[in-house]
Each structure stands twice: as C-alpha cells, then as structure tokens.
Amino acid sequence: MPRPIQQPLTLFGVAQRGMSAQLVRMNAASSNLANAGSVSSTEAGSYRPIRPVFTQQFDAASGLSTVNVSAVVRSNAAPVKEHSPNHPLADANGDIWTAPVDENAEMVEMLDASRQYQNLVEALSTAKQLMLETMRMK
C-alpha cells in the first residue's frame, strides 16, 4: 500500500499525506461506530472493529518524514454473546453475537484524528502564507 515518493518531499507533501492518513483513521472510526450494536447469528460473522496502522515514511532526499498507512487491521476482540431466542437472527441455541465496538474509544479516536487534521491544516496555511509573501517580494 505505501505510495512511493516520486519527487523530493516538500512541506506541502508532508502535510497532505498526513491529512490523508488522518482521514483514513476517521473513516475507520466511523465504520466502527456505524457497526456498533450490529448483530450476527454466528461468532465468525460478527463485525470486528478496524484500525489503521501508521508508519513513518522517511524521504532521504529532503530529510523530511511523512506518515503512511501501512495496513488496516481488524481487532481480534471477541463478539459479545447474548441469549435472545426471539431474535430473528438467533442460532439454534437462541444466541446472537453483537459486534465488540467500544463507542467511547471510537469517539476519542475520531476526536483525536480531527484535532491532528486541524493541526496540519493550520501548519499548512501558515506555511502557504509565508511562501506567498516570499514570492511577492519585489
């Protein structure tokens, strides 16, 4: 999945890749939130929360490093078994399996990702403004 760096990385490339990584993280958290409480009739068929893995991507040409989403892994948390014989998805024993999503943890993840995205936007706009001022110099 790592996208190779074609030209020497600039500050803008660093921020852009970092923002994409935070976006992947936000998407993963919202997928998990959307599937919170989803029910399955088998243990294996139950939804497992997904989580992106970030790694550092160093560009030797410019000395800068950016973020890369090296994988999106499924957590191996066990689904919650519940005895509910009247549920339409219940198996032969009358059990259903609920997705093991921790809503609080997902909300924290979401908040953290959006704060880091905002930090990058802030850094990007400051840098852009300074570069434009340098360009405008007569």
Partner: protein, 115 residues
Amino acid sequence: MSQSLFGIHGKALELRSQRMGLITSNIANAGTPGYKARDIDFSAALSASERGAGTDRAAAGAIRFRVPVMPSMDGNTVEMATEQTAFAENAVAYQATLSFIRGRVENLTRALKGE
C-alpha cells in the same frame, strides 16, 4: 551574489524554511508509534553555514532529537504543545527575516533609481 546582497539573512531564511518542514513532519507524525521528533538547532546550523558549509549540510548537521517532557507508551516523542510553539516561533522568525530582506531590497532599488 545573494551572499553579498542579503548577508546572513539569506541563509537564515533557507534554514527557517527547512526547520518549518521538519516541524511539519513532527506534526504529521503525531500519531505514528515509535516516531522520534526531530528539530534543527538553529543557532548551530546558522554558525555552521557562516563558516562556509552549504545550508543543506549545515541543517543536516544540526538536527537533534527532541527530548520529551513525558514519553508516551508507544515510543512516540511528539508533544503537540511543544511542536506548535516551535512552529509559531519559527514562522514569526521567518517573517522577521523576510522583512529584513525586503528592507534591503527596497534600499537597493531606491539607490538604483536615484530617488
């Protein structure tokens, strides 16, 4: 040419721009496990380039790892408050250097026009 025109400010501007990139790398990697935050020791880099090293080499030789106030469990040493302060300080210094250069350019243009 640029050396005689802008003096120390030309080098300072280049180093400030490189430092800005490095701090942005830290901000981008705030959530990467095991990432070690780095920064340029600006005065060391500037005195190295004053001694005649190119700005790229001077900056590379003055890169230091940040000492975290409180290291986190995943080995990441980025602390947002530190990075944001460093970024703001660097942006202000960039602007200051830029206005020194702008003043120099204005002086020269005025001298050339003979106003």
